[in-house]
Symmetry: C2
Subunit: 213 residues, 2 copies
């Protein structure tokens, strides 16, 4: 079989990808505020289901960008998620990315209380005295703990990105966080991932860049 490669310059690959995504979305109208985020999730996954599954609380995108502009930090539930976020873009506004999953005190505490490291990571994050965006791409137990902390009045995040992936309590944890009364971006259903969590953070950051030019 003869394989025909498309000739695209390196710096044009992303734009060409977004062209294809836009074309394949057809005459579907996306809310301009959400469009960049939805398309970036499709770009990251090649999965058009995100056009349907992504749910946004009213004004979530604008509020999150405002928080980033004021120096909000991001907390992830995996090192992969942290690794995928454009930390330089975030640092320009004073923010940084935290992931406590590999911390020894977190592991010890999780073992002691029979919970997950993700749960304990959220407790550790809640103790930070900073405006926070949570980007949860892996652990439903993290989302569930965030719901509890918010309900108990111990945490008031600027945004919760709720996109864990999987089969056990994933669907439920997302429904739960959408009832917590805080701004959210959630991928309803089983799908998501650390890559999706990171790409939503980056879409927020890049949208901000454009706005400031």
């Amino acid at each position: 079989m003869k394989i025909q490669l498309e000739k695209v310059k390196p710096q044009e690959i992303e734009a060409r990808s977004f062209e294809i995504i836009t074309r394949e979305l057809g005459d579907r109208k996306l809310d301009p505020d959400k469009e960049l985020i939805i398309k970036r999730c499709i770009h990251t996954s090649a999965d058009f289901e995100y056009a349907d599954s992504l749910c946004f609380s009213p004004g979530a995108v604008e509020r999150a960008r405002e928080a980033i502009r004021k120096g909000a930090c991001i907390v992830t539930d995996t090192q992969m998620g942290k690794s995928g976020i454009n930390k330089r873009a975030l640092a320009r506004f004073g923010g940084e990315v935290y992931c406590f999953m590999s911390d020894e005190d977190v592991a010890a505490q999780a073992k002691a209380q029979g919970s997950t490291r993700a749960t304990v990571s959220m407790d550790k994050a809640a103790a930070l005295d900073k405006p926070l965006i949570f980007a949860i791409g892996n652990a439903p137990t993290a989302l569930i703990r965030l719901y509890e902390l918010i309900s108990e009045g111990k945490l008031k995040p600027e945004l919760v990105i709720g996109v864990p992936v999987g089969f056990v309590n994933v669907v439920q944890s997302k429904e739960l966080i959408m009832q917590a009364g805080v701004p959210y971006i959630v991928a309803r259903g089983r799908k998501g991932g650390s890559n999706i969590a990171a790409c939503i953070c980056n879409a927020l950051l890049y949208g901000l860049d454009n706005r400031r030019d």
Copy 2:
């Protein structure tokens, strides 16, 4: 809406997930050699398409495990991929994970020659004097460059994991690498990702662990 959480102990979540995956795969028979890898990709993505899209060259899994056992190293095309691989499990056999994407010499070289950093990263990896497994979850240009290096006799990888995701030359680059005459695990089509690349590496490692117990 009342949300019902499933009661599962932290240490049982993964096993429970695999039970659900097995049940939903129904009476579909998976090759025992490939089963763990296929199921782990589904576990990582909640996407059952991997049961159909994953392609293996004959004996790829066994050969890759043998290479790891002898100390093979893994090269990724993203920091996210590197971050997701269980480096401690790999280190037990003497291997380590490389990602050259953020190296300054790679960026400079890519700019000078009008190619991508992924392309130049593969050249840099090919200069390593080690048995190598390539885990490509992002850049089709990396896969294309691997094909060229292999064709020119400059590289003979132990395995190429070809799972970039996206819209420009992704499908083609995967077809190309399957014609290179080296062992491969490829997710045909547009889907894949750094998380999928990392999870295939981990499935290879965990399979090895079981075998050695």
